[in-house]
């Protein structure tokens, strides 16, 4: 196993340095001397399989391959040192761990440094990793990892539980493996990085064809996370980069933000380099002066290999396999498309002067058009946040057309007493109903709706000798509603119920005449509006969707001089179009 005996800096640097700097929650960087690379073993697990009640994931197994690839390319892991398990069962994982234990024990017996890297991407439940029909209890995994006789154990969990259509990853908010189980996993020389806190969900991105967290972790390991420009990406650097980018990306999703977590018990350890982008044969350089957001796509496959924000400062180099790439650069309101060919042994810089201005519709899917230009907040000190922001920027516009029934009450009876009859006399149709609403998602299942709508109207006439008087009225309302919604078919059909209130207005026209001649008296009255509604939303996640709604409104806006009130509300139904604004995942 020659790859186990590489001789350059590695995790063992930190172990050998026995620095106390990493004993805190925010590990500090140490300028440790270069020492021999320790023996390194890894188990990389990816499973798209879903358990009962879960949606299959799309990219967990691909993510495992990507992590394995970056570790092979830049982590100084030998090919045979990494075991990549895609779609494994529980027994396979445990057996693979068991296979490594004797080898690591041999290194320990000889006093050699040895590291163990465990990565998992897939579904999870509160107490277990979900592997299709099988489950790997966390307690059992913890026990096995504790028994691994490595000098340093690095665990990365992009764990997921059943989600909705977005294939939400992550466990039940109260107990995912990462945060709450840190104490259980804590042992000497262990670090656990997780994709989210114990109260948050983890997500995949169709645009990135990856989970948000793993994508940004891999980009960090390819060099984007190398903040100090020393050619290495440390555990702390990788975590900080993945934290920021995952937080920024998921803040605009419907499910909500993800705060990656890192818990360490590396007392006596130094800085922990994970990858060495400087070793890479082909590198892409983003110039130091560049202030832009950049997407780098592997041209043959179309996959997004990096999506990052470049702030003015030192040049940023990404270690990538040689080949053809396209870079989409958004800077100062311009979107540029750049064709690149990376070659081993060379650093290829993006030259904006050679790029072409891309049309807006040429921007590849997933380009973060609404993302802030500035980098997101840095990693908070101390323990990662567990409260979790919810998405606050989900807007949609809904326009509907339908009908609303008329109320027959004392007001109408009075009108009839005074000789009026409803027009037309033969066909009595309900009033047309128009509505326009703006909705904003407050929480995954809760939205606020501000809606303007037409309400009931009617027209009466009476013969007065030689002339005819006509009375016409029409109601309108505006209100705010709270809407609770739930998925019936993820991404396709959503059911909702809403209730709220506001103001209603009634516009009245009385066409009559007196000794001066005919005239029309116009009157405007208002009152309260209370409304309940329920319905279905089709394609709630798409840019364009539809909705079907049934409603009841109470809106006694009209009153006559005799004290009779008229409700311009009533039962109604409408059919409409829904347009989502902002980013559509």
């Amino acid at each position: 196993m020659p790859s186990l005996r590489r001789t350059s800096t590695s995790f063992a640097v930190a172990l050998a340095a026995a620095s106390a700097a990493l004993s805190s929650a925010s590990p500090a960087r140490a300028d440790a001397p270069t020492v021999a690379h320790p023996h390194a073993y890894g188990i990389i697990v990816g499973s798209n399989a879903a358990g009962a009640g879960q949606q299959p994931l799309r990219y967990a197994e691909d993510d495992a391959e990507r992590v394995a690839g970056v570790l092979r390319d830049l982590g100084r892991f030998g090919t045979s040192d990494l075991r990549v398990l895609t779609h494994p069962d529980v027994a396979k994982i445990l057996a693979t761990v068991d296979e490594l234990v004797p080898k690591l024990k041999e290194h320990a017996d000889r006093g050699e440094q040895a590291t163990f890297f465990f990565y998992y991407s897939g579904h999870a439940k509160a107490s277990a990793l979900t592997l299709g029909d099988g489950e790997l209890p966390l307690a059992l995994l913890r026990e096995r990892l504790r028994q691994v006789p490595s000098t340093l154990t690095l665990v990365v969990l992009d764990a997921c539980q059943s989600g909705a259509f977005a294939r939400t990853k992550g466990a039940e908010p109260a107990a995912d493996f990462s945060f709450n189980s840190v104490a259980r996993l804590t042992t000497k020389g262990i670090a656990v990085m997780a994709s989210s806190t114990g109260q948050e969900l983890s997500q995949e991105s169709d645009a990135l064809k990856s989970s948000y967290f793993t994508h940004h972790l891999v980009v960090a390991l390819r060099g984007a996370g190398d903040q100090d420009g020393d050619g290495k990406v440390s555990l702390d650097e990788a975590y900080r980069y993945a934290y920021r980018r995952t937080l920024a990306a998921t803040a605009r999703t419907r499910v909500g933000t993800q705060h990656a977590t890192l818990e360490t018990d590396l007392s006596g350890q130094g800085d922990v380099p994970v990858t060495y982008p400087a070793d890479a044969g082909a590198r892409l350089e983003l110039p130091g002066a560049l202030d832009a957001r950049v997407i780098v796509q592997h041209r043959p496959s179309g996959s997004v290999v990096a999506e990052l924000v470049k702030a003015p400062g030192p040049p940023l180099r990404l270690a990538l396999p040689q080949g053809a790439y396209d870079a989409i650069v958004r800077a100062r309101g311009q979107i540029l498309a750049c064709s690149l060919t990376l070659t081993d042994g060379q650093v290829t810089a993006i030259e904006l002067g050679t790029c072409q201005i891309a049309a807006a519709n040429g921007v590849p899917k997933g380009f973060d058009d609404d993302a802030p230009e500035t980098a997101p907040a840095d990693v908070p000190s101390g323990a990662p946040r567990a409260d979790g922001l919810r998405e606050l920027d989900r807007w949609a516009i809904e326009g509907g057309l339908g009908f609303v029934g008329r109320s027959d009450d004392a007001y109408n009876a009075r009108v009839r007493d005074f000789g009026y009859t409803r027009r037309p006399d033969l066909v009595e149709l309900p009033s047309a109903r128009l509505s326009l609403a703006v909705t904003r998602t407050l929480a995954p299942h809760l939205s606020i709706v501000v809606q303007g709508q037409s309400l009931a109207g009617d027209s009466f006439a009476r013969d007065v000798g030689t002339t005819t008087d006509t009375l016409t009225y029409k109601g309108w309302g505006v209100g705010a509603y709270l809407r609770a919604h739930a998925d019936v078919v993820p991404r396709l059909l959503q059911v909702y119920a809403q209730g709220g209130g506001g103001a209603s207005f009634a516009f009245t026209w009385l066409a009559t005449q007196d000794e001066r001649g005919p005239y029309t008296a116009k009157d405007t009255q208002w009152g309260y509006l209370l409304g309940l509604a329920g319905g279905l939303i089709v394609a709630p996640e798409a840019r364009f969707g539809g909705f079907l709604q049934a409603s009841y409104d109470r809106a006694p806006a009209m009153r006559n001089l005799l004290g009779d009130a008229h409700d311009v509300g009533g039962f109604g139904a409408s059919l409409g179009l829904r347009v989502r604004l902002g980013e559509v995942p």
Binding site: G465, A511, E515, T520
Partner: protein, 291 residues
């Protein structure tokens, strides 16, 4: 509230409707301005204020007006030639019982109400009643009067010709010679002479051989030529012979022994365009009395 003049299209529609139906007779309406909306200063244009005062007030809507009858007594009336013996009376009003508001109809225009019905309705609830008047009831005076304190507001008073009436006709009594009549008992003389709607209370009735003393001749009253062609004439005993005693009916001085006949009136509608016009038929001469 904002008052807006109607657009010209609405005005045109009203004009067209007005051309098609210029009179209250349209749609069976007997009265004009049944909703009290046409005001000439402080009084109603189409109604005569006989006593008291009236005021324009809103009803259910700020721009749908009615009339409030003021202090007692207040009386408004309207004479019309569009009447019928079978009519439906309807009212939308807010009237306190103590106001003693009532509706009256003077069918023979003798200044005495022949039909009387009180109105005591609150809350603007509509009320209807059939008026089965005498056969000759084409020209009549419709009267609304208030005799007591309390609120009395009328939103609409409507009188419409209808085709079917049941029960007994309104009975008039003590009618003078010359008054239109249906039956003998309506007349003070006890003789209602004529055919169909042309019957007139008379002192005698030559076709029936009734009413004159022996030796007297029953004949139509002798009126000036200008009145003769358009007037339903009563029949008198020995008209024009100067034999009438004091108190006996007469239409001319020549009918009386004293050569003095007083109280003769010709009932001619005020809106007759000209004497003898068909629209004004039938007019009547009311007999006076010999001095």
């Amino acid at each position: 509230m904002k008052l807006l003049r109607s657009p010209w299209l609405l005005r045109l529609a009203v004009v067209v409707a007005g051309v098609a139906c210029m009179a209250p007779g349209c749609n069976g309406d007997v009265l004009s301005d049944s909703t009290f909306r046409l005001w000439c200063g402080d009084v109603l244009c189409d109604w005569r204020l006989d006593a008291g005062h009236v005021k324009r007030v809103p009803t259910w809507h700020p721009d749908d007006y009615g009339v409030e009858l003021g202090d007692a007594p207040t009386q408004i009336s309207q004479e019309t030639g569009e009447g019928s013996d079978c009519m439906e009376f309807s009212a939308i009003a807010d009237v306190a019982a103590e106001s003693q508001t009532s509706v009256e109809v003077d069918f023979d225009l003798d200044g005495v109400a022949d039909y009387h019905v009180p109105i005591a309705q609150t809350g603007w609830r509509p009320a209807k009643a059939l008026i089965y008047g005498p056969l000759y009831a084409k020209r009549l005076r419709f009267i609304v009067r208030k005799d007591g304190p309390g609120r009395s507001v009328l939103a609409e008073i409507r009188l419409q010709r209808v085709t079917t009436c049941t029960g007994s006709r309104v009975q008039t009594t003590g009618l003078g010679v010359g008054a239109a009549c249906d039956a003998d008992q309506e007349c003070g003389s006890g003789i209602c002479c004529g055919v169909g709607s042309g019957k007139v209370c008379s002192a005698c009735c030559k076709d029936q051989g009734r009413g004159c003393a022996t030796g007297q001749t029953c004949a139509y009253a002798d009126v000036p030529a200008a009145e003769a062609n358009r007037t339903l004439l009563p029949q008198l005993c020995d008209p024009g012979l100067g034999r009438g005693k004091k108190g006996e009916p007469c239409v001319d001085a020549a009918d009386c022994a004293s050569h003095a006949c007083t109280g003769v009136t010709y009932a001619r509608p005020s809106d007759c365009p000209e004497a003898g016009a068909l629209d004004c038929f039938p007019d009547r001469v009311r007999a006076g009395h010999c001095e």
